[in-house]
Symmetry: C2
Subunit: 357 residues, 2 copies
Amino acid sequence: MTKKVMILPGDGIGPEIVEQALAVLEVASEKYNLGLSFEQGLIGGSSIDAHGEPLTDEALKAAGECDAVLLGAVGGPQWDTLEREIRPEKGLLKIRSGLGLYANLRPAILYPQLADASSLKPDVVAGLDILIVRELTGGIYFGEPRGIKTLENGERQGFNTYVYRESEIERIARSAFEAAQKRNGKLCSVDKANVLEVTVLWREVLDRLAPEYPDVELSHMYVDNAAMQLVRAPKQFDVMVTGNMFGDILSDAAAMLTGSIGMLPSASLNESGFGLYEPCHGSAPDIAGQGIANPLATILSAAMMLRYSLGMSEAADAIEAAVSNVLELGLRTADIHTDGYQKVSTAEMGAAVVAAL
Amino acid sequence: MTKKVMILPGDGIGPEIVEQALAVLEVASEKYNLGLSFEQGLIGGSSIDAHGEPLTDEALKAAGECDAVLLGAVGGPQWDTLEREIRPEKGLLKIRSGLGLYANLRPAILYPQLADASSLKPDVVAGLDILIVRELTGGIYFGEPRGIKTLENGERQGFNTYVYRESEIERIARSAFEAAQKRNGKLCSVDKANVLEVTVLWREVLDRLAPEYPDVELSHMYVDNAAMQLVRAPKQFDVMVTGNMFGDILSDAAAMLTGSIGMLPSASLNESGFGLYEPCHGSAPDIAGQGIANPLATILSAAMMLRYSLGMSEAADAIEAAVSNVLELGLRTADIHTDGYQKVSTAEMGAAVVAAL
Ligand SMILES: CC(C)[C@H](C(=O)O)[C@@H](O)C(=O)O
Ligand SMILES: CC(C)[C@H](C(=O)O)[C@@H](O)C(=O)O
C-alpha cells in the first residue's frame, strides 16, 4: 500500500523549502516503511507561466487523487499586475474550494528555543500554544454576489457578500470542538455578533452544538476584542474558531506573536481527513533563490500531514523531535538567528533535520 | 458666542469618567474664556431603560444641533439578551450614521510614563505614535442586504454586504491624506485586494488621489499582513487608513500595543468638522460604579474635541499638558498602576488634572 503525496512547490522560496521537506519525507518513508510516493504539480505563478492560469483543472484533479498535498507558497511581484482572476492567489483559493478543504488549522506555538524572537515580553508569550481553526471555503472569500459595478450617478461601487449557512458553520464548529477535546478543552469562538447578522447565526450554531461536547468550555468573543486579547494576554486561549476573513487576520497576528513565523505549519482538511499542508508564511520573493529561507515550517507541515491525513503519527513525532533537536543544537536560519547561534542555509537546515532523524 | 456640547455619558463606567471630563472642560472654559455650554442626553442602555430604544430620534436631533458631542461608553450585560435591534450598540451605530460621522480617528500613542504597561518589548513600542483612520459610516457595518433567511432545504443562512462606493472611499481617503500631511507624511492603506473586489476599488481610489498629495508617501498592505506588522514592528506606521470592519479590528489591536487603552481618545468627524469624541475603551461594566475607572481617555477626548471641532487648540494643548503632568507626578488609576506609583481613584485623577490646569 503506497500513499501518494502531491507536491506543489509554488513560487518564491516555495521550491527551496519544499525540496528540504521532501528530503525529510523520503528519509522518514524509508526509516518507518511508510511507502510514500510523490508527484509534482504546478500552482500559483509557476502555473501561470506554464499554463496561463494559477491552477489547471488537471492539476486540481491530480491533487484530489492523491492522499495528501504538500504546498510551498504562491505569489510574487511579477504576477501582481495581472488581472485578479489569474493571479497566483486564485490558485490557492481554487484548490481550497475545489477540494473542499474547509478546516484550516493554524497553530501558533512558541518554541522555547526561540523565545527571544518574539516582539512580546517573555512572560507574556512563554509556553504559548494556541490553535486557530479557520473556516476556509466559505464566508466573504467566496460569497456571491461580488464585484464592482457602475451606479446610476456614474460612480462605481465595490461589493462582496459575507455569507454562511448553518451546515457550513456546523462542520467547522465540530472540527474546532474536536480539536479542543484533544487539547485543553477550551474553545473561543470569534465573531462580530453585535453588528453582523451572519455572525449572529454563527454564534447560535456554536451554542446549539456545545451540549454535545460537555468536556469543552465554549466562550464567545468579538473580533476586535480578540485582536486585543491576542496582544495583551495570548495564553488565555487554547483553541479559537472563526470564519474565513477573521481567521485570516487573527491567525497571522497570532503567528506573529511567536516572532518566528518561519516555524509555523498549517493544515487544511476536508470532511474525510484529506488535507493540504503548507507553511503559514508566504513566498517571500525578496529572499527567493538565495538559499537562506527557513524550511522548518514546511518540514513541520509535512509532519502534520503524516499525522492528520496519512495516519503515520510515529513518523510525525520523529520529524517534530528532529526539528526540536536541531534547534537545541543551536542551528538557525537567518530569520530566527540571534547572536551566539550558528547561522545555516536552507539546505543545511534540511540536512540537519534529516541527520537528526 | 457660546459653543454647545452634547454630553452622552452612556452606560457602565461612562457616567463616572464623563463627570471628570466635564469638570475639566468647565475649568478650561473659564480659564480660556471658551464660553462652553453643556447639554446632557441618553444613549445605549440608559436610553433603552428610559425610552425602550438605544437612541431616540430626539436625542439624535439634539446632538446634531450642538457643536460637538462627548460620549462615555455604551453597553452592559443587562442589555445583552435584548434583540439586536434595540441593543446599546445600535445607539452608537445610529448616531455615527445619523450625523454622518464617517472619519474615525484613533490614535495609538504610548505615553513614555506608561511604557511598562505594554505587553511588547520596550524597544518595539517606545515612542509609538500611530493614527488609525477608520471609515465609520459604511462598509459591512451598514451594507444591505443583510439578515438571516431560510433556504429551500430548510437550513438558515446569514448574510451581510461589504460595500463601498467611490465617493465614500474618496472622502475618508482625503481625511487620511490630510492627517498624514500634518504628521510624518506616511499613509498606509489597508485592504484585502487580493481577495475582495470592494477593496480593489478602495485601492484604486487611494492610488488615484495620491498625486494630489505629493508630500504623502502612500503604501498598501493586506489586512492580514497589517495585523502581523502591528505586532512585529508597529513603529513602521504613521497613519493607517482602512474600512469600517478592518478598522475596528486593527485600531483595537494597535491600541492594545500601548498596554494602556484607558489613555486613548478617539474622534469621529463629519464633512464639516462636527464630531463625536469618545474614549477607545468600552463601558467596562465589571468595574462600573466603583470609582476606579481611568478618566484620562475621556479627558483627552475632550481635548481632541476642543482642537478638532471647536477650534480651541490652546485649551486643548493645556489639557493634554495637564494629563502629562499628572502622569509625571506619578498618579495612576488601577488599570495603569504599577509598583512605586500612587494609586488614585477616578475622581482623584480628574481633580488632579483640574489642578494641573
Ligand atoms: C494569499 C491569500 C489569498 C491567503 C488568504 O487570505 O487566505 C493567505 O493570506 C492565507 O492566509 O493563506
Ligand atoms: C460597540 C461596537 C458596535 C463598536 C464597533 O464595532 O464599531 C466598537 O467596537 C467600536 O469600535 O467603537
